[in-house]
């Protein structure tokens, strides 16, 4: 049972981590809260569902097309929709409120489009739902593959942010946009890049999740909020933290289900989240500046 819980926890947590990673990059750098984040995920899930159903191409291959498209769309959302309010914002607070309101609209608009096209019904298909035997336990190949993909992309993104110049620039913008401009960083470019990256990661998450989860056009918010929980728990903009917190939440969920009571999984997740914040008001890895 222990191994089973670990496996199921990791596969679950891997996806939490991945989805949170995208949001933490997006929010951390552009400082615009994107309530429509989860719609990118669900949008990608529907795209896979449709293309896989009609063309029969593997979802993982489809990701090669869908993820860049999501990058582009997300980038456009930032440039076209958010730039005007970024320009007019007189204070970080004003920007925070405006972006919240605006992406609230985006959330509904995107959800509305999905509902119009796909209806409000449950959607589900089966791909790579075959058992893999690991350490005497069984996991679904699609979940395992998602976990591996999540870890790979997580590591890649972490490397990008921590080890490359571009990554350092992104982090700099996250901390002080004016300062960033003064060292020659194009802040608009950085924010657009981060926004696009976030959207791309969300879409990848959607592709992966769609292979084993039943989804509806209106489930985006659920993922946005789950991701936010992880992001906040880790500390805004903390990439490694988001990965760790995501995995931890997945493991907690699995262990609660296995050893305590499946009925308490969600309650415990939130309890852990709330307790974490009570003890560390800026998240586990968040640093409070003076």
């Amino acid at each position: 049972m222990f191994v089973n819980a670990v496996l199921s926890g990791l596969t679950l947590g891997g996806v939490y981590a991945l989805v949170a990673l995208g949001l933490t990059i997006q929010y951390g750098v552009s400082r615009t809260m994107n309530l429509g984040y989860g719609e990118f995920l669900i949008g990608a899930a529907f795209a896979v569902f449709m293309l896989f159903g009609t063309l029969g191409i593997s979802p993982y291959l489809l990701a090669i097309v869908i993820v860049p498209v999501a990058y582009g769309l997300s980038w456009l959302v930032y440039r076209v929709m958010l730039m005007p309010i970024v320009r007019r914002a007189r204070s970080p607070m004003a920007l925070e409120i405006d972006s919240l309101l605006l992406t609230f609209g985006l959330l509904f608009a995107m959800m509305g489009v999905l509902v119009l096209f796909f209806g409000g019904n449950y959607t589900s298909y089966s791909y790579l739902s075959v058992p893999v035997h690991l350490m005497g336990e069984t996991v679904a190949l699609n979940r395992l593959a998602s976990f591996i993909a999540a870890v790979l992309v997580g590591a890649l993104a972490y490397g990008l942010l921590m080890r490359t110049r571009t990554g350092m620039a992104l982090r700099a913008v996250a901390v002080d946009p004016v300062g960033a401009r003064l060292v020659g960083i194009d802040v608009t470019w950085a924010a657009g890049l981060a926004f696009g990256l976030g959207g791309a990661i969300a879409a990848l998450g959607g592709v992966l999740i769609s292979t084993y989860m039943t989804f509806t056009a209106e489930m985006g918010v659920v993922f946005t909020m789950k991701a936010l929980i992880v992001v906040i728990m880790a500390g805004v903009g903390h990439v490694m933290g988001a990965l760790i917190a995501g995995l931890a939440l997945g493991l907690i969920e699995a262990f609660v289900a296995a050893y305590l009571d499946p009925g308490l999984t969600v309650a415990v997740i939130y309890a852990v989240f709330l307790l974490t914040l009570l003890m560390r008001p800026s998240g586990i890895f968040g640093k409070a500046a003076r």
Partner: protein, 319 residues
């Protein structure tokens, strides 16, 4: 800051006195719409009462609203109605006290998401309790409370909230909250205990929300945790208040009014494309109303007063 003019109170009493006659002239649908509207106006104003000056964006509205509803579901038939309301207020206030003590040191987005997490956890815990202790989920409310009575109760609640809000704005506590909202660290150094001030307001605002939940509950016959603690409500309240403009008492009120009409118009005309249109209209509104409705109104006033020929060049940042 310190003002004693009575006319805002008089205005509230007069307007609400007149509105009390609505049920005599309105159809039952209009009454239903008015009730929905009033409910959001109460919630948004109560939200703004705390969040406006302190700038703490709370997504916990539904926790207190739900507590109110659940109190009615559990105690509604066991007690006379005023006692039920009192219990709802009491429980809501007590929970707010605990929550407030624990959370009000969180800042910004951390507080926002914390309160969201809280509402989800409360929902899960109530569910778990019902499942494991009462062994049945979902409760029935059969109370002889008419729509008209609900309307009057909400109207009275809103009037009380507004009078309270005006009084607060002129009080030392109100001033304290503005200072805390401006700079909490600084506030401490001038003898202000931010925790106490914030807590007082948080509890007051939560009590109002609990009352709203209690008053509304008899409308639905049946409630379960998913209905009573539906996080959408928290979002709606925040969005309404922000849209209206939370730096004025009237902002959330107007926001709630506008959004209620918008929901109604879109929902009845275009049920299929409701989400899409709501989203688009909303985006447009945000572009057109940079400082909320109240901000726009104030701007318009300012413009009519200003000499028309002063040229202005915006000092924005270069792209």
């Amino acid at each position: 800051m310190i003002s004693r003019t009575p006319w805002p109170y008089a205005l509230i009493v007069a307007v609400f006195g007149a509105l009390a006659f609505t049920p005599l002239v309105a159809s039952s649908f209009q009454l239903a719409f008015a009730i929905g509207c009033l409910n959001f106006m109460v919630l948004a104003t109560a939200w703004g009462l705390f969040s406006g000056p302190t700038r703490y964006v709370s997504l916990a509205s539904v926790v207190f609203f739900g507590i109110g509803s659940y109190t009615v579901a559990v105690l509604g038939e066991a007690m006379p109605w005023p006692a039920v309301l009192a219990m709802a207020a009491l429980i809501g206030g007590a929970v707010a006290l605990v929550v407030g003590l624990a959370t009000l040191r969180l800042a910004g987005i951390y507080f926002v998401i914390f309160t969201f997490g809280l509402s989800e956890m409360v929902r899960q815990l109530v569910t778990w309790y019902e499942v494991n202790v009462t062994l049945s989920i979902g409760r029935y409310i059969f109370l002889d409370i008419t729509q008209t009575q609900i309307f009057w109760q909400l109207l009275a609640l809103l009037a009380v909230v507004l009078i309270g809000a005006v009084a607060l704005q002129r009080s030392r506590l109100g001033f304290a909250l503005r200072v805390i909202g401006g700079d909490e660290t600084m506030a401490r150094h001038f003898g202000l205990n931010p925790t106490f001030a914030k807590l007082a307001l948080f509890v007051a605002s939560s009590v109002i929300m609990s009352l709203a939940g209690a008053i509304m509950a008899p409308r639905w016959t049946y409630i379960d945790p998913a209905i009573a603690f539906n996080a959408t409500l928290s979002f709606q309240v925040v969005i309404m208040a922000l849209l209206g403009g939370m730096h004025r008492i009237w902002g959330p009120l107007l926001g709630a009014l506008l959004m209620s009409f918008l929901f109604e118009a879109l929902g009845s005309r275009f049920p299929q494309a409701f989400s899409l249109l709501l989203g688009l209209v909303f985006i447009v509104i945000v572009y057109l109303l940079p400082n909320g409705i109240v901000g726009r109104i104030e701007e318009a006033f300012a413009r009519t007063r200003r000499a028309p020929d002063t040229p202005t060049v915006p000092a924005g940042e270069r792209p």
